[in-house]
Amino acid sequence: MKVIVDQHKCVASGQCVLTAPEVFDQREEDGIVVLLTETPPEHLMDDVRQAATLCPAQAIWLAEQEKQEDKE
C-alpha cells in the first residue's frame, strides 16, 4: 500500500503531521506537505488513513483506494 500526496492541492494545514508525524512533514518555507515514506509500516496505517480523512484539502490518498477509473 502506497501513500500519495498532492502538493498542489495541499493547503499547509499540518493536520497530517499532527496525526502521523512519522510519515508526513512540512516544508520549512511554506508548510506544504512532504512525504517521508511512501510505504509506511503497517502499524502506522491507521494514522495515515486518519490523516487522509482529516486533510482539509483532500491532498492525501492511499493507493489501495485508487482504482483505475479515478485516474482517468
Partner: protein, 416 residues
C-alpha cells in the same frame, strides 16, 4: 439500529457516512442532500474555482466509484423539509418520507442576503453553482464591489483582484476580519488588500443597492457616496440551515443545540456548520463554520451515535488564503483577548502571534508561517498560562506600536 439517515451531503454528511461504514456499521444508510451535485469541497470555491486555477470537477470530494462503495441510498437534489422526532421520519421536498432509527443533521448554513439581492449582477457564494455563476460574471471584466469583509468577502475580493478587476471591499466595521481576529490583525489584512490594489471602504455601512432595469449599477453607502458596480457580491455572513427543523421540538438557537457529545436528542446528532455544541476544552458553547471542523465533528458525532460516549473537545483550526498570503489559526479568538507576536515581524509578512484570554493561551495565529504555527498549537492544547507568553522576555518593540511587542520563541519551550 437498522436505519441511519444523514441530512446534508457536504463535507460533514459525507464524513459521517464514511465513518459509519468505516467502523463496520452495515445497516440501511440514507444520505440526503438538497443540491443535485455530488459532495464537493467548499474552500476552493472562493479561491481556485473563482480564479479558474482549478476546474470545477476537482472540487468533488469523491469519485462515483467511492460514493458507490458507501452502499448508501443517495438522495441528492432532495431537500429535507421537516423532521418528525417522535415517529422517526424525515420528510423530503418531493413528498417522500425517510424512516430512521438514528439521525445525523449536517445541513450547514445558508448565506444571509440583503434587500434587493435578486437584482441581476448581485451574487452570493455558498454553492459550486454560485461560484461558477460568479466566475462567469467576473470574466466579463466588471467593476466589482464586495459587501462584507469577513473571510469569504476578503477571499472573493482577493480572487477578483487577482483576475485583474477593479475591486472595492465594503465593510461596516473599521477593519476587515475584525470579528474573528480583532483590530490589529484586521489592520494588517486591510494593508494586504491595499497593497494589491483592492480599494477598501471600512467603517461604512451599505445603505442600499442602486439599479437600472433590474440590473445593479452601484452600492450606496451610509455616507451618501455611491460605488459604481456591475457585479456586487454579498458576503454578509450566513445563518444555520435549520428552517426544516422548525416545529420539530429540537432546540434551535444559532444552530442545532447539542451537548458535548454532539447530541441534539436521543439518537439525533448534528455536525458541521449547523451544530452548536458545548466544547469542554474551552468550557464554552460554539458553532464553527470551518472546513476542518466539518470533518472532525462528523467523525465524533458518528462515533458517539455508535456508542463512543466521547465528548467533542477539539482545538479549532482554520485558514484563509488571500493573494500570496496564508493566515492560519488554532483555537478561539475572543474580542477582548490580549495579543502578542511570538516570532517574526508583522511588517514583513511572516510572523506568528498568540491570543491570551482569561489567563491562558486561547489561540495562536500564523501569517505565512505554517510549520512554526503547528508547533505553537501545543500552547492552546495545553492551555499554557498567558504569563508564559508575556514573561518569555520581550524583544525590542516593533516600530510605532508597542502592542506588537515581540518575544523570543525559543524561551517558550515549544520547539523540540
Amino acid at each position: 439500529m437498522k436505519r441511519i439517515a444523514i441530512v446534508g451531503a457536504s463535507a460533514a454528511g459525507l464524513t459521517a457516512a464514511e465513518t459509519l461504514r468505516g467502523r463496520g456499521w452495515d445497516g440501511h444508510l440514507t444520505l440526503i442532500g438538497d443540491e443535485p451535485r455530488p459532495p464537493y469541497d467548499r474552500p476552493p470555491l472562493s479561491k481556485q474555482i473563482l480564479t479558474g486555477d482549478r476546474p470545477a470537477e476537482r472540487a468533488f470530494l469523491r469519485s462515483p466509484h467511492d460514493l458507490a462503495r458507501l452502499e448508501a441510498d443517495l438522495r441528492l437534489g432532495q431537500p429535507a423539509t421537516a423532521l418528525d422526532v417522535a415517529h422517526r421520519r424525515v420528510h423530503l421536498g418531493a413528498g417522500e418520507t425517510i424512516r430512521f432509527d438514528a439521525l445525523i443533521i449536517a445541513t450547514g448554513v445558508t448565506p444571509r442576503r440583503l434587500p434587493d439581492s435578486d437584482l441581476a449582477g448581485v451574487h452570493v457564494l455558498r454553492t459550486l453553482d454560485d461560484a461558477l455563476a460568479l466566475r462567469a460574471a467576473l470574466l466579463a471584466g466588471p467593476r466589482v464591489v464586495v459587501v462584507g469583509a469577513g473571510f469569504l468577502g476578503t477571499e472573493v475580493a482577493a480572487a477578483a483582484r487577482t483576475m485583474g478587476l477593479q475591486v472595492t471591499l465594503v465593510e461596516p466595521e473599521p477593519v476587515p476580519v475584525r470579528r474573528p481576529f480583532g483590530d490589529r490583525i484586521g489592520a494588517l489584512v486591510a494593508d494586504l488588500h491595499r497593497a494589491h490594489g483592492t480599494r477598501l471602504r471600512c467603517g461604512t455601512p451599505v445603505r442600499r443597492l442602486r439599479s437600472t432595469g433590474g440590473q445593479v449599477t452601484g452600492v450606496e453607502l451610509g455616507d451618501g457616496t455611491t460605488l459604481p458596480a456591475d457585479v456586487v457580491v454579498m458576503a454578509v455572513g450566513s445563518v444555520p440551515a435549520t428552517g426544516w427543523l422548525t416545529g420539530s421540538g429540537l432546540s434551535l438557537a444559532d444552530g442545532v443545540v447539542c451537548d458535548a457529545w454532539c447530541r441534539a436528542a436521543p439518537g439525533i446528532y448534528a455536525a458541521g456548520d449547523v451544530a452548536s455544541w458545548h466544547n469542554p476544552h474551552f468550557g464554552t458553547r460554539m458553532r464553527l463554520e470551518h472546513r476542518t471542523n466539518a470533518t472532525e465533528q462528523a467523525i465524533a458525532a458518528a462515533g458517539n451515535l455508535l456508542g463512543d460516549a466521547t465528548p467533542f473537545a477539539p482545538v479549532p483550526y482554520f485558514w484563509t488564503d488571500q493573494y500570496d498570503t496564508r493566515i492560519q489559526a488554532y483555537g478561539i479568538f475572543p474580542p477582548d483577548a490580549d495579543l502578542r507576536v511570538i516570532s517574526g515581524d508583522p511588517s514583513n509578512g511572516r510572523f506568528t502571534a498568540a491570543y491570551g484570554h482569561q489567563g491562558v493561551v486561547a489561540g495562536v495565529l500564523g501569517w505565512n508561517n505554517p510549520r512554526e504555527l503547528r508547533t505553537l498549537r501545543r500552547l492552546v492544547v495545553e492551555r499554557a498560562l498567558w504569563t508564559t507568553v508575556t514573561d518569555a522576555g520581550p524583544c525590542p518593540p516593533l516600530a510605532g506600536d508597542r502592542c506588537w511587542e515581540s518575544i523570543r520563541p525559543r524561551t517558550l519551550g515549544v520547539y523540540s
